[in-house]
Amino acid sequence: MDELGNLRQLFLDEATDLLEGTERSFLSLESTPDDPGTIDQIFRLAHSLKGSAKAVEYGDLASFTHALESLLVKVKKQEVEVNRSMISLLLKCNDHLKEWIVLLKTNPNGKKSYEDIVRELEAASSQGKGAVPVPKLENQFFTEDKVADTAPVNETSKIGKAKAEKPKAVEAASEDSIRVKLNKVDDLVNEVGELVILQTVLKQQKLQIQSDLIQKTIDQLSKITRRIQDNTLRLRMIPLKSMFQKMQRIVRDTSNTLEKEVLVHLIGEDIELDKTMVDKLSDPLVHLVRNAVDHGIEATADRLQAGKPAQAKVWLSAQHQGGRLMIEVRDDGKGIDPVIIRKKAIEKGLIAADSAMPDEAAIHLIFEPGFSTKSEITEFSGRGVGLDVVKTNINEMKGEIQITSVPGQGTTFRIYLPMTLAIIEGIVIKLNDVEKYVIPMFQVKEIVEIKDSDVWAMGQSNNVFVLHGQTVPVYNLGKILNRPYKTNPKRTVAIVIEVGQKQHAFLVEQVINQQQVVIKKLGPDIGKIRGISGSAILGDGKAAPILDLDEIVTGRYA
């Protein structure tokens, strides 16, 4: 690549960051229109974008940012008013720039028209204070000509008061950080993974070594290896901030279109999560957030009638909970009515008409494939993909999702995720004399030792046993996997899992231990085998398959 090409590449990376910063600032400007800090921040970002664009000879981009800057100058001097439509226009410019940058990334000579949007900018700058028109609550983001032709309404003060928590000022772009390619980090993570495996082998052989000094060194080595592992995995972690911000934007867009007034609270946006997980989490979260605004929150008239404030609230929060990350999407809408869900489920044949399913279990039925309670299709929800897709996505991330709902008061979706995908807590089990398997800890609900006489036959080939008064189907894992197993052991261990509120138990010969394992994919040469999610290298240096018991159980019904 030539020198200009290199510089342009750097510019595009930088611009992507800058635009995230400006979007964040525009959104906080909406809640704090008079904060000079925010305006200065925006001004600085726009200015540096313009300067850099000029330097790498992107003339069109520079002219466009120049037009944007001119408007921002007026905002700064308070010559124009910052209101909803102004923010919408600024956000629209931001989107336009983002698309432009994406275009330039794929095609360095790509052109994007900007004349229309510049005209809008000029119109807005020439309006003067108090005269910037505010459109009705309409879709302002995807139509080109709505901004200039609607009646002015002064709602600045209202929005100003409506802010709930003061958003933090955007961090300066010159933070002490370096940009590293993700694959370099991944290489490091893989190598550290190997280091951990070797370390485990060493630790298990420790007692065979005579020398105290070497034994002690192994212990120290093991401590430092763990630290290296933690630090390396942390390299892949990024804050949830930019994803949360995207959600904030989605709430804004969705609620505008649906003519609902919704305020978003973001909590815990500085919490970090594995980059891959953040990427994977984005779609399900978009779905849940749209769902909350579209289905969860009532129409404004209904809210008023129910004696609720017109302005609805959506909370998006993240917090650590017992080694896992909990992400919560909560709304103060109408909640989920278990009666309606039950009725619908009976209609769809998901449950029996006389089913005595408790309310809590009933509302989880909305995760079943093909279940959607809202019959009409809106622009944002109900495109045929439902919450079952959200659940599938979360399950793929080895997480789980739960709902709680109080009719009339709102709905809460809680997503629990492991902190990383590279390492899991696993239970090592012995299937027969030689074969060991790993079962992910998060799938296991309970481990109980049972006697052969505790297992009762049911029908020709099914077995059950009684656990805490519940009758639980029990399967012989060796038989399922078609591997050798003892036919009549005196005692055996049952691994109990729960899939969709139902319990299942798997008999194994012995549980060896619980340990962290580094997940290795099975090669492309072997492909996907149902019931096996990957492999791991155990302390004895041998490879062992990681089982997916959920998949084995659901595979039965597939």
Binding site: I480, I532, I552
Partner: protein
């Protein structure tokens, strides 16, 4: 299995170095460039619901790779595991995997014009995986097309006939 040629690059035109190994009584050759390394038969962990020639997975210095019984795969006869058996780790760029063979014998340069075509045969058996034959030192060496013998598509298909786990 030391090389008999002193230089890494053979000066002779079109000569490519091949690793010679046995499956039972026959000798086969694979281009050395495809070979990552040769190891003793390691600890192999069987994987449920795979065909018989899929021996399982092994830990190669932190890398999990699959091992296939090549004799069983192409000759239909299971390997008798003994001292001379070895696993050849083949490099397919994006991934590696191992084939278990009866023994690994030597490395020789084979010139292109030395390779004879596989004769047409009246047989239903597909011999596609034999690229050609070389007659040397009164022995016949079959040149193995590794990708065909262990066809990647075929390998991806390993899962299909056996993957329907049923809970009895």
């Amino acid at each position: 299995m030391k090389e008999d040629s002193s230089s890494r690059h053979d000066r002779k035109n079109g000569a490519e170095r091949h690793l010679i190994f046995s499956l039972g009584t026959e000798e086969y050759a694979v281009p050395i460039l495809k070979v990552k390394e040769v190891i003793e038969i390691p600890d192999i962990t069987p994987i449920p619901h795979t065909p018989r020639h899929y021996m399982g997975i092994m830990n190669l210095r932190g890398l999990v790779i699959s091992i296939i019984d090549l004799r069983l795969k192409i000759k239909g006869i299971a390997q008798e595991i003994g001292k001379k058996n070895a696993v050849i780790i083949l490099d397919f760029g994006s991934f590696c995997f191992g084939v278990a063979v009866s023994s690994v014998n030597r490395v020789i340069p084979i010139e292109n014009d030395e390779v004879k075509e596989r004769p047409p045969m009246e047989s239903l058996e597909s011999l596609e995986y034999i690229q050609g034959v070389v007659y040397r030192d009164k022995r016949l060496i079959l040149i193995l097309d590794v990708s065909k013998a262990l066809n990647i598509d075929d390998m991806q298909a390993i899962k299909h006939p056996h993957s329907n786990i049923k809970i009895a």
